[in-house]
């Protein structure tokens, strides 16, 4: 077995979950998603962790779904979308607060993973967004988290206009809670994680659990339906044409 695609370390109450596929900008392939599921399952039982930082190895946070890896395999895009949906539900249901350390591009499903975290920190030079519609695909699976985070009106604009935005703009919209200069990212994340981890485990879990209940975060059916809608669109002729043209052009 090669290097682990997702690593987990816990230090002084703060867990760090790292997407570790830097040569592919941490794009979510089926094996990477399987690794993330395994690490998040471990986290759910890690009583010593009172805060979790989720980040990407290398220059990117996560380039999104690795559609190129699965496009020719029947049923594979749908399974990938389902897996992303289930992963976001698991991350949301973790009893400890999660902080996305958006160290670089967080695109599509990658932006969805950042968005599902309770807090997010990025820097001025990062790039975030949901360019799904530009590729003929539909961000339905991750839309519920964006609607909860920035409101339905802004989510409508972000998802229908497609493209990406700067970290600064993402912060203005409320997609992340902090935006700092790139050289301040590490100390900012460390300070927030430490501050949060100073809270009591039960108090943090009760508060997060109640917030999840208030905003309907535990409504798994909504995310699963979103995954189905995304899968339907990926399977359409329009998406297949647009994606193949895009991959051929690379």
């Amino acid at each position: 077995m090669g290097a682990e695609l997702a690593t987990l370390s816990i230090d002084n109450g703060v867990a760090t979950l790292t997407l570790n596929r830097p040569d592919a900008r941490n794009a979510m392939s089926p094996p990477l998603l399987d690794a993330l599921h395994a690490r998040v399952d471990e986290l759910a039982k890690a009583r010593e962790a009172r805060a979790v930082v989720i980040t990407g190895a290398g220059k990117s946070f996560c380039a999104g779904m690795d559609l190129k890896a699965v496009l020719d395999e029947p049923g594979a895009p749908a399974r990938l979308l389902q897996s992303i949906g289930e992963l976001t539900l698991k991350v949301r249901a973790l009893p400890m607060p999660t902080i996305a350390r958006v160290n670089g591009a967080a695109i599509g499903g990658g932006c969805g993973l950042a968005c599902v975290c309770d807090l997010g920190v990025t820097h001025d030079d990062s790039k975030m967004g949901y360019p799904e519609v530009d590729l003929g695909v539909c961000p339905a699976v991750v839309a519920p988290w964006l609607v909860k985070k920035i409101g339905a009106g802004q989510a409508r604009r972000v998802l229908l206009e497609g493209g990406t935005m700067s970290g600064r703009r993402a912060w203005e919209l409320g997609l992340v809670t902090e935006c700092v200069s790139a050289d301040k990212l590490d100390e900012t994340v460390a300070a927030i994680a430490e501050r949060i981890a100073s809270g009591g485990r039960k108090a943090l879990a009760a508060t997060k659990g109640w917030l999840n209940e208030l905003d309907g975060s535990l409504d798994a059916a909504m995310v699963r339906r979103g995954a189905m809608i995304s899968a339907e669109v990926v399977g359409s002729d329009e998406a297949q044409r647009t994606l193949r043209a895009k991959f051929a052009g690379r």
Binding site: G151, Q154, V233, A239
Partner: protein, 251 residues
Amino acid sequence: MVLLEHRGGVAVVTLSRPEKRNALTPAMLTDLALAVQSLREAAPGTEHARALVIQGEGPVFCAGFDLSMCRDDPGAIGAMLTGLSKAGRAVRRLPMPVICAAGGGAIAGGCALAASCDILVTDPGAKLGYPVVRLGVSPAVSGPMLAAQIGAGRARERMLDPETIGGEEALRIGLAHHLAPDADAVKALAMEIAQAMAAKPPHALAATKRWLNELDGSDRDNRHAGALGASLALAGGDEEQERLAAIWRKG
């Protein structure tokens, strides 16, 4: 008074009654719903329209209902409320992005119409809002769309406070998404955004819009029926009649 034209992949619906700041009549609202509906039958994915711009002729997008209609016909306001609810829902359900060029002003019914669009473009000098409780009229009919666009807390403030807001504030609270320097530039920018969206794969856009409608509940008929009912309950009532009559007296 409602014009529909096609410019490339973009359909443009123009409220065309500039001498009345495009104030809405029951007939205009019916025509608007029909124009939007006609695009739906062609969409999506064909060489027909892939995005819609709704705009007003002249410097002001829309001053709201033409209340002078109510002078001779006490039933007019009910007809306008019902027509507005229908037109707004048709816009929301149209399976393509709808961009509102709301330069100059989007008042009451005009603001409701603008809030039912996906993307709203305005200018800093514009006035947006619902200054109608003063007239004994309830903007409740706009509630489901407005709450979906800016959140229930802010919608509460905007519908109860008859003060209008400017373009900058509209941008800040998320009612508007883009600002252009003036009303003419608003139309140009709305068209530019529409063209960019029309160049994107239409099925993906349609599926995304449908899902957003479901997530924010803005296509739920029972919600709109309740909202319309709340506005209609006051139509023709004493308070409204007295307050409207006071306007006629002032001339």
